[in-house]
Symmetry: C2
Subunit: 383 residues, 2 copies
């Protein structure tokens, strides 16, 4: 849907024209923020919100997503988590729509003795970084979540890893952007580079949208030699009205495999997700659905009786160090906002904030500076 | 879609008006045949072909579906199977559309020693009735179907249990009916009974379609005190082009559970099906999908890599003795054509033939006479 009128005159050209290529959560957030800062913004995407944003479970989980040695990512995710409630409130305030943001915390559980040992190691690592995590017995886990399998033998309670509904958040963010004056161009496009400088976007119909700045937010399709697709398959189940099988996000170690269950207030239960390095591939496979259901049922037997509403596969944008790529790279006039891997929902707001700051020549926070795409340039030069 | 014109004048009213209530395979076949015999026919269904016909795998399997003591059903199914090729050819000839009828035979296999013993018993029972069934070793099964699991330890080859694609068959049959002059009324309806006699159908919009005869072909929704819904959940996978994992229908006993895999020439692989007596319920459940995938993978490990395209649940119309209800019952002017349980696709043609014969006062074959709804009346009186 292309709005028929131009954005409000007051916003035009004061700070230059921007084309945002890619309308997932990150692109939509960037477009909204840039418009608020006085840019005239066009967002190019044939199917806004239809990529990995649509598949995402919406866990806001700096603690649970932490992997050893990813200190920069942890700092960025903690920053994002701290500001998420305000971001969600701002989106709702502008759009009049809910985001499904829910401060429910997360319970990580272990199914067998090996899983318990691994969870305990993870908890020690988390605590050594000063993160708030409580160890629980199996019984204590079942007090919190009575429908957990009797075999669950231990857990970690992470009170500050919350959730949002990425589909609701997207709808609200999209409406906020439209109200602020973002123009939607419903086409595929590619960055137009002339003399080493991005000058706009060439659309699928052959026309060119010129811009002073191009923001690349096409997720796993960004390429740029650094971003690779990491396939995720995910299921959506439905809980009966008034009979929610879980109260909070539950992440499980099930005989050394990982699975998570994210219950929404509207009755949706998201079960995910695979993580497959096999190129760009959005096919749902029998084997992945089987394994997700098997492991979810092992943790919560009542899952067996739930309706299976949807299966989906999308590709996350993975980067070499799991940190996103936010900032200017080798091409002048091209701002990258991709590579968010498993944290795209959580990081959409801080990414948009940083993109708006960089677009007007400002200096981003140290957490964002660590995400500069130029870090790989240095690494390559040092080889 | 209501055709704007009336049926050809030559066909009108010569033999009276018929309303067929229910437009699945059985209803559509009845409407077509009745029109061919000179009746003016209206078919009432808001979603033709959207019920159990859409879910059905399309196995034409008198031998494999045989259960002990169901001699009348066997006779009926053998009659139907013998005539199916001609029926499919007639539908294609009138409609110009394919039906997916495929004379590929069926391989029944056993996974463990217990399954092999049970399959051997079943084979003996089949052979004692004069049916053509060959016993095979596990190795012989894998010569026919190389992607069977190495654990498959025995099998039965049933050369004359074939398949059709119920969705293609329905489209072709629907087109044939439309060309013959069947009028489609896209509404829900219920039989209108006055003084113990069916006089037409009351439509959802409140209007009444009068008829000299009403044919009740609403499948599991038929009710009538005799038909119960038997829920079936079924999956559709997609095989890669040119890499069909199976050549023929494979039915398996997997640790005492049954599963089947029906490969189509277009690359579809149907995996089914549950059989659940739990009232009218079309929800796909996590547990059923999990079990179907588990058992299908146990027989054919390559299933793991296939795309899962569709999950579906519909209700078969079960009868007390698994024989369909074909013929007049307690209400004058009401011809029943329901209760086909697991054999609706196979029996659609013979049912339609019988309905057309009964509608014009003829006497049906003994195989059809055994399906008279009056058999329950007698049983009830004898209580």
């Amino acid at each position: 849907m292309v709005p028929s009128g131009d954005p409000p005159a007051a916003q035009r050209a004061a700070r230059g024209d921007v084309v945002v290529l890619g309308g997932g959560l990150v692109g939509a957030a960037c477009a909204w923020r840039l418009t608020q800062r006085g840019h005239r913004v066009a967002l190019v995407d044939p199917d806004p919100g239809g990529g990995s944003s649509r598949a995402a479970a919406g866990m806001l989980a700096p603690v649970n997503e932490l992997r050893t040695g990813e200190d920069d990512l942890l700092a960025l995710c903690l920053l994002a988590a701290a500001g998420f409630a305000d971001f969600a409130a701002a989106v709702t305030s502008t759009s009049g729509l809910p985001t499904g943001y829910r401060e429910c915390g997360t319970l990580a559980v272990a199914l067998d003795a090996g899983d318990r040992a691994r969870l305990s190691q993870i908890r020690s690592a988390q605590q050594s970084l000063g993160l708030e995590v409580e160890g629980l017995t199996g019984r204590e886990c079942r007090v919190l979540e009575p429908l957990l399998d009797p075999g669950v033998c231990g857990g970690s309670l992470i009170r500050h890893d919350h959730q949002v509904d990425p589909r609701e958040l997207f709808s609200a963010l999209w409406t906020a952007g439209q109200r602020a004056g973002v123009e939607h161009v419903p086409q595929l496009g590619e960055v137009l580079v002339q003399d080493g400088c991005a000058t706009g976007v060439r659309l699928a119909d052959g026309t060119v949208r010129r811009a002073d700045l191009v923001v690349l937010a096409t997720g796993a399709a960004a390429g740029q030699g650094r971003v690779r697709p990491v396939k995720g398959q995910i299921l959506r189940l439905r809980m009966p009205k008034g009979e929610h099988v879980l109260q909070r996000t539950v992440r499980g170690l099930v005989r050394d495999r990982e699975v998570y269950l994210v219950p929404r207030e509207n009755g949706e239960l998201v079960v995910g997700a695979t993580s497959e390095d096999r190129g760009f591939d959005e096919r749902v496979t029998a084997g992945a659905v089987y394994e997700l259901l098997r492991d979810a049922q092992a943790l919560v037997p009542a899952v067996t009786e739930l309706e299976l509403v949807e299966t989906m596969a999308r590709c996350r944008p993975g980067s070499p160090d799991n940190l996103p790529l936010i900032g200017f790279g080798e091409v002048e006039g091209l701002l990258l906002a991709t590579g968010h891997h498993r944290n795209g929902v959580l990081l959409a707001a801080v990414t948009a904030e940083a993109v708006a700051t960089l677009a007007s020549g400002g200096t981003p926070s140290p957490e964002i500076a660590a995400c500069s795409p130029k870090r790989f340039q240095k690494a390559a030069e040092g080889e």
